[in-house]
Amino acid sequence: MPKPVPTQQLIDNLLRGDRLALSRAISRVEDDAGEAARIVQAVFAHTGKAHLIGITGAPGTGKSTLVSALVASYRARGETVGVLAVDPTSPFSGGALLGDRVRMTSHSGDAGVFIRSMATRRGTGGLAKASADALLLLDAAGFDRILVETVGAGQAEIEIASVADSVVVVEAPGLGDEVQAIKAGLLEIADIFAVNKADRKGAARTVAALEMMLETGGAAAQTIFHHGQRMEAGAAASEIDGRDGWPIPVLETVAVSGGGVAQLRDALERHRTWLDESGARVARESRRLDHMLQTLVQAEMLARMERTLSPGLRSDLVDRMQRRKTDPYSAAADMVKKLST
């Protein structure tokens, strides 16, 4: 086996735009917490420039196809795009089948596009633990837009909201009578709704259902219904005042043909402008960094606990809890006290 490339060399090459270095650096932050620290420390000053766009929604709604269509749309304007596509790790085998790439093959050979698949491993919330770090690396590598596709999201997969600047929730008609977002809790995190597969029957109904939910869930505003085809560029099916005063658009898209994708791109552009002008971008980044800080400190405290406390202490406490000699809260307080002395 050849010797691995030194980390410092990887970092230098990554910042110079070397794609293999970027790719290998992502593997290292995934595989090794120590390497992750070293690499992120070195690149962090070069981050904060890209527009981070989250694409989430129920399984099979067309997220990957839509990502691919958005990439094409950005490329047509000469912007470079990084993609991070997350799929679930099997809890049984620890393996994963990462299939999002299948829908993105049309960008092959384009040096302005970089697509990376990532398994969730031990991550929860629809992303991997290493997702945030990988996004920093793509950002440092200089991509203008970075698209993150989450795993097919259910109720709790809302981690994307603490990672992205703009969140697109993808819906599709015919997923059942109820719009999936109702139970999914994705409603609260959407900046834009894309009702994909609008070529299929029922799209108008899905749009209407979403609009109704936005109206009842947030500030009421005038609802404009448009049925059938998109009207002109930038025309949302409806716009209702949503999170922090941003009017959440509900757009119809046909990812397979590119229909409505220019409008989605325009809506994302408006959202980005709104983020800047309203100060929400700063607020979101601050929340994001605080979240990262908290996650890292938690991980470090746990690691320190494993390192420094005698292995018997933990099992002793568990044993005493089991015999009702102590309770979970007191046991935890005991351990924390031992850690800080």
Partner: protein, 133 residues
């Protein structure tokens, strides 16, 4: 010795639609604990090499039943080497006559697996190779 998660690209180059073998292998490797990136059918050698680079895989697995292996495989190996991925393990499966298999191995394909190969054999081969064997 590779400690970290093993990543495998499964690709089906060529214009035919024989993707059953590729899918069977992709699932078997997933169930064995590998991270498998499946790229779908109709991949050119350029597309495969590019995906291997972006995904930083340890293994590239090609499935070819169409008879086009003598042109497709050496091209993939050549591209991987040219982009600095000389260390990637290249495996081939499908309908490959023995004499072709020997030539392909000389051209940098590490192993060839024909019809009837069990997934256990393939998994064992990858594990041994990754352990530095």
């Amino acid at each position: 010795m590779k400690q970290s998660q093993i990543r495998v690209l499964i690709a089906k180059p060529g214009l035919d639609g024989h993707d059953r073998g590729a899918k069977v292998i992709a699932r078997a490797l997933r169930d064995a604990g590998f991270e498998v990136i499946y790229t779908g059918i109709r991949q050119t050698p350029q597309m495969i090499a590019e995906a291997a680079l972006q995904e930083d895989v340890d293994v590239v697995g090609l499935s070819i039943l169409s008879g086009a292996h003598m042109t497709l495989c050496p091209k993939v190996v050549e591209l991987l080497h040219a982009q600095g991925q000389e260390d990637v393990l290249v495996l081939l499966g499908g309908i490959i006559p023995d004499e072709d298999a020997a030539q392909l191995k000389a051209a940098g394909v590490h192993a060839v697996f024909g019809p009837g190969t069990t997934s256990a054999e393939i998994i064992a081969f990858i594990r041994t190779a990754m352990a530095g064997g």
